[in-house]
Amino acid sequence: MSAVVFEGIWKKFRRGERHDSLRDLVPALARGLARRRRPLDLAEQEFWAVRDVSFEVGPGEALGIIGPNGAGKSTILKLLTKILRPTRGRIEMRGRVGALIEVAAGFHPDLTGRENVYLQGAIMGMTRAEIARKFDAIVDFSGVEAFIDTPVKRYSSGMNARLGFAIAASLDPDILLIDEVLSVGDVGFQEKCVARMRELLARGVPLVFVSHNLAAVVDLCTRAILVEQGTVRFDGRPAETVAEFRRGRRGAEARVRPAADQVHITDVQLLRADGEASPLFHTGQAMRIQVHYRAPQPVRAPHVAIDIHGVDGLYCAGINTRMDDCALGTLEGEGRVELVIPRLNLLPGSYTISAGILDAQGLRPLDLQSHAYPFSVASERKDFGVVYLEHHWRHDARSAAASAEADAGAPVASRPRRRPVEVVGAGGARK
């Protein structure tokens, strides 16, 4: 039995201004009386934000919804939370719905953090006793203990969001809806959020996740749908859906960027050590990035560049053939350039790859695809930051005997004996 049933949903919206004053009411009423429209007819200025979308999400399933801006993703989520009612179709939600959406919407700036926890908790459907029981855990999760009795108008936007998220995360929902919360807070906080989602998912709570963070969708979801112009374009495994989305987006961009008779990137593939194309990698394992190109006309001595950015925009690495003195010769026809990274020393997180073909001087991009290829890294390593530094530890301590000797006025020249301790890092190699 599916916990979430979204069946044949249509949702109509109106473009532009609607009548907001009584002045416009009279003509609107007259029009309404003149002809009664059937629900599936579109009047002037109306359009379908969602057209015949259906899906079901069962226990332990996580459905990702991806698509370009304005495709109808947020409308679907608002329909799921009952804020909007479908023009046509049937929605069923079995059990308590927890929505990690607008987690701080109920906050009042003049109330303290503590007061707002109770208010927002009630808005999310928790009882007073339940909030009181979870209060310490909420405050602890949010990391704003020191300011809990300060009015939230003095909070930074990050603190605001963290407190709101902490309240939402403390819910024990039967269904979880998430909209782009992974953009909240710093990396440490995001990890806590993802951990909480996984915990709920592992407990069998069905999850609907709307995001632009494709790597996170691949990472978290068991299934994903691609929504474009209000309809489901693709429905399948997350990696397939993400690939389909990227293919569509590149198609749309190719028309505006390099002309068809110029050299251009046709595809970029990210391969794991085992040769499987996947957006999921492990710290310390190999990664191969293949840049496929087509050069209708010969291009003399171009360069290929790869950049890696964190989702927060941090520039993690920039590599190109020019700096590495790697000559590609003349490109003509189709081919591919492969960058092999024997050990990927990035720590867990979400990243994007930009790929470009530059001219012989390495100055002018002939084709550039910025942040077009997301991937994520997982690892058992608990290091902080974005990069894994190969390391080991040493500990030098004087022995008790040596220091006693020193205190007793031993010759200055006598050095304390070293007692080396070596703790070698696990090296990140994990299989």
């Binding site: 907001d20 959406i101 009630a122």
Partner: protein
């Protein structure tokens, strides 16, 4: 057929409201807390406003155009103003209750009635506070209530139900048409003088008098005064008003519920 569906809807909205009862209390507490924090006088305002009005009307109706109300005029006026202030302030909060919380209305789901209902509850707390002053005034002027005071809860309930019905309609109306807020200010000013708040409206005769008997607030405030100050049971008109208020309340709630899903799109 239609009433069967309406009954079903009614059961649904009442059940949902019950489910969210804690939120209603929270939202009410929020507004009271905010007022306490944001104003120096806090609840003092609940007492101050009717007192100022009582002083003004006492001067007018005992010195300028003296009228006989059968008891010390300040008690008469204050009693009427306490009930009227509850009504008008509850409505004033309700009118903008949906439009002043856009982030909640467009982003989070819970029964929207909570906004106008909590506005009514906040005013009810003010009403209770200013009633204490009424008790003090009655003691000062030696006006003693009789056994009909036992009917006070019924009168207050009737007042609350009529206020809540109006509050639902106004909150909803203002969401769709912002003119309602301005229209309300004009209507409420006229309405006070068409109600027996500071003078007995029953003395107006003729066709105008007949028209004014249709005003439900007159019967409710008359009943309020009857059980507290005059030591008599309310007029039969009060019973009719109460019955009509209950019908209006149910109707307003069902209408509100039907329109509720359009709110997010129209804010």
């Amino acid at each position: 057929m239609l009433s069967w569906k309406a009954m079903n809807n009614l059961r649904e909205v009442v059940a949902e409201q019950w489910e969210y009862r804690e939120l209603l209390v929270r939202m009410t507490a929020r507004d009271l807390l905010l007022r306490y924090k944001q104003t120096v006088m806090g609840f003092g305002w609940a007492i101050f406003m009717p007192l100022v009005n009582t002083a003004i009307f006492s001067v007018i109706f005992t010195r300028v155009a003296a009228i006989d109300v059968g008891m010390p005029y300040p008690v008469y006026a204050f009693c009427g103003l306490v009930a009227w202030n509850f009504f008008s302030s509850a409505l004033r909060f309700s009118v903008t209750s949906l439009t002043s919380n856009p982030s909640l209305v467009t982003k989070v789901y819970f029964p929207r009635e909570i906004f106008p209902f909590s506005a009514v509850l906040v005013s009810l707390v003010d009403f209770a506070v200013s009633s204490l002053v009424l008790v003090a005034l009655m003691w000062w002027y030696h006006v003693a209530p009789g056994w009909p005071l036992l009917m006070l809860p019924l009168v207050v309930l009737s007042l609350v139900i009529f206020t809540a019905a109006t509050a639902l309609l106004l909150a909803m109306g203002n969401l769709f048409y912002r003119d309602v807020k301005y229209l309300f200010e004009i209507v409420i000013a006229f309405w006070m003088f068409a109600t027996s708040v500071v003078y007995p409206i029953g003395r107006i005769g003729g066709r105008l008098g007949l028209l004014l008997t249709l005003n439900p607030m007159t019967h409710i405030i008359d009943a309020f005064r009857a059980v507290i100050l005059e030591g008599r049971a309310p007029n039969p008109a009060f019973a009719i008003t109460t019955a009509a208020s209950i019908v209006a309340f149910v109707g307003a709630w069902l209408l509100f519920h039907a329109a509720e899903f359009e709110f997010a799109e129209n804010l």
